[in-house]
């Protein structure tokens, strides 16, 4: 499967407060284009910590992280924010939309920040993404007028707006009921199948994980099965 989008080499991380606890131990793996990967493991095994390191939001770790062949280790905060903006889409357990903006504006914001297209084009693209997710009718509503499932779909649309290399999800279905979980999963599957989108999803849900291409199972800060 194509070239490597993301490579993690010997990533370790420790928390030092109040006592030193190593939460990640020598994590090494890589992600290729079009892969749909799930990370599972028990609570506290370090999977969320890993995700935040991979997403460049957490920079306090040892080892090497390459995204699109570039090392993230030496980059400054501003450069990392550009990487996040351009190459990574994020979906959280809680939707985290900005209630001050409409659904459409929420989707558009990362695109406006990237500032590679005109506002009109970004708006057009945002509509497209909402259409893919089947919620274009809600575009002009405020996020707090939507249901939980709808909000999560808006968050996915926002993650897609800059056509990132990879979408990362931190338990994106963790807060949804079965029906909405299925909807979100189907959307993920469609993104992989139709748009060749790479996905890295941290989840508790083994049912969900089983249906992905590859499962990375973690325990005590190590990958035990890949």
């Amino acid at each position: 499967m194509g070239n490597k989008l993301l490579e993690a080499k010997n990533i370790s991380k420790s928390f030092h407060d109040p006592i030193t606890v190593q939460v990640l131990k020598e994590i090494t793996f890589d992600i290729s284009k079009g892969e749909f990967i799930s990370v599972i493991g028990k609570s506290g095994c370090g999977k969320s910590t890993l995700l935040y390191i991979l997403s460049t939001m957490d920079t306090d770790f040892e080892g090497e992280l390459l995204i699109d062949g570039e090392s993230m280790k030496q980059k400054k905060e501003v450069e990392l924010s550009v990487v996040r903006n351009e190459k990574i889409g994020f979906v959280f357990q809680f939707h985290y939309l900005l209630n001050e903006f409409s659904v459409l504006e929420n989707v558009m914001l990362p695109g406006l920040k990237l500032n590679k297209l005109s506002e009109k084009e970004i708006e057009h693209k945002a509509y497209e993404k909402l259409k893919i997710l089947g919620i274009e009718a809600e575009a002009l509503k405020r996020p707090n007028q939507l249901s939980g499932g709808q909000k999560q779909r808006v968050a996915i649309a926002r993650a897609l707006i800059n056509e990132p290399l990879i979408i990362m999800g931190d338990e994106p279905t963790g807060n949804l009921d079965k029906k909405n979980s299925d909807v979100v999963f189907e959307i993920f599957q469609e993104l992989v199948a139709v748009y060749n989108q790479s996905l890295l999803i941290v989840t508790h849900d083994n049912e969900f994980a089983k249906r992905t291409h590859r499962i990375i199972e973690m325990e005590d800060g190590r990958i035990i099965k890949m």
């Binding site: 997403s55 550009v82 985290y96 900005l98 001050e100 990362p110 406006l112 920040k113 500032n115």
Partner: protein, 419 residues
């Protein structure tokens, strides 16, 4: 981040809690409005008090003083040049109070670029004869037009027409205090005796009130020609030349120059009225201190509200950062929020300040000592408005600086995982 996006996000955050924003802006508005109206009011009063003295005082006054000679005759002698000479019981010499060649001096002064105007004056002592009583008095012979233009003479003539002084021969404008003592009415003839012992009759054409009671009891005015007649002098006789300058601050230096040039005494206003300058400076200082305190208090208000706003918006900040906004962008957003509160509140403050000033200007203010003043004085100094505008933006920027920096350093992981 583009400016448009910055404005869009800041605006959304501002309007999301518009009531809170409004409270912050009103804080700025109130303090700027108070600053402007307070300074305008205090400035107005200050100018009024200064004007009491300064309007009627020449910036430089040329005159001859009766004083002992600086050099006694013995010192001029070649023979005693290298001796120590002790002269006891020195007396002032008989000096001409008349300024020599005054017409030429005045012509010369009027040509000077720095001089706004020149007015001649004759000061003489008289006794007013009222029945069996002789009242002490001073008569100033003045050039009515020049005096009016340079020293606002006509503003202080409370009754009668000041112009009659020029057109009616042998006329006098009496000080209000002196007139009250003499029970003199307009049109009355009064008798006075000059220091030379001559008696004259003058017609009362007006009353003069300066606001300084002691002065009004003795000071009266006549035309130059009348004063010359009282003294029995020629029409060249002038005892004072009063000079108004375009820039008052040049007075001390120019007084020195004139003293040398015209060989007369030259007194500048700063030396003559040093206490006024100190008083005026202290009053200005107090009003600025109060005004700036108001602005600083408003600054703390904005600081509080921005701090609160950032705690409320911390989730939004985290999500902005997760989706690719840098700490710098977040800092810019909150700084621009602070600045727009400051600019908007400040602008309203300037307008309200002007309105308050106009209202104060309408309140009646009548006082016996200030005949020309009918309402409270307000100084509409553009300078106050500029300071207010600059200060409103500067304090809000400072008030927003620390909260914005805090927002910039928010760690999105901590916020997102904290849920």
């Amino acid at each position: 981040m583009t400016k448009k996006l910055l404005i869009k996000i800041s605006k959304a955050l501002l309007l999301a809690r518009w009531k809170q924003t409004l409270v912050a802006a009103i804080g700025v508005t109130f303090s700027i409005a108070m600053f402007i109206s307070l300074l305008g009011f205090m400035g107005g009063l200050n100018n009024l008090l200064d004007g009491l003295m300064l309007n009627r005082t020449a910036h430089i006054r040329l005159y001859n003083d009766i004083e002992p000679s600086a050099k006694q005759p013995v010192e001029l002698s070649e023979h005693f040049k290298h001796h120590y000479n002790f002269v006891s019981s020195v007396k002032p010499k008989k000096e001409q109070l008349n300024i020599y060649n005054s017409a030429a001096i005045m012509r010369n002064l009027k040509k000077d670029e720095r001089v706004k105007g020149v007015a001649p004056k004759i000061n003489t002592q008289v006794f007013f004869n009222v029945g069996v009583v002789d009242l002490n008095g001073m008569i100033s012979g003045i050039d009515v037009d020049e005096e009016s233009e340079l020293f606002l003479f006509k503003d202080y003539v409370v009754k009668g027409n000041y112009h009659d002084l020029k057109t009616i021969p042998n006329s006098i404008i009496l000080g209000k205090g002196a007139a009250d003592k003499m029970l003199a009415q307009l049109g009355d003839n009064i008798t006075l005796t000059t220091t030379q012992g001559n008696q004259f009759q003058l017609k009362v054409v007006g009353f003069y009130q300066s606001g300084i009671q002691e002065l009004d009891k003795v000071q009266s005015y006549a035309s130059i020609a009348t004063a010359q007649k009282l003294l029995g002098e020629s029409d060249l006789y002038i005892t004072d030349i009063q000079i108004k300058l375009k820039d008052m601050n040049l007075a001390p230096a120019m007084a020195r120059e004139f003293r040398r040039l015209y060989k007369t005494e030259a007194m500048d206003i700063q030396t003559a009225n040093a206490q006024f300058e100190t008083g005026s400076f202290v009053r200005t200082l107090i009003s600025y201190a109060v005004g700036i305190t108001l602005l600083i208090v408003a600054g703390f208000g904005i600081y509080n509200i921005l701090n609160m706003m950032i705690y409320e918006k911390i989730d939004s900040i985290a999500i902005l950062k997760a989706t690719g906004f840098s700490g710098k962008d977040v800092n810019k957003i909150f700084t621009s929020i602070a600045l727009s509160i400051g600019a908007f509140g400040g602008l309203l403050g300037l307008i309200f300040g002007l309105v308050f000033s106009l209202l104060i200007d309408l309140i009646p203010f009548n006082t016996a000592s200030l005949p020309t003043v009918t309402t409270y004085p307000v100084d509409y100094n553009l300078y106050y408005y500029i300071i207010g505008a600059v200060f409103s933006v500067a304090t809000t920027y400072l008030a927003g600086y620390f909260p914005s920096r805090k927002a910039a350093t928010v760690d999105p992981v901590v916020i997102i995982r904290g849920k």
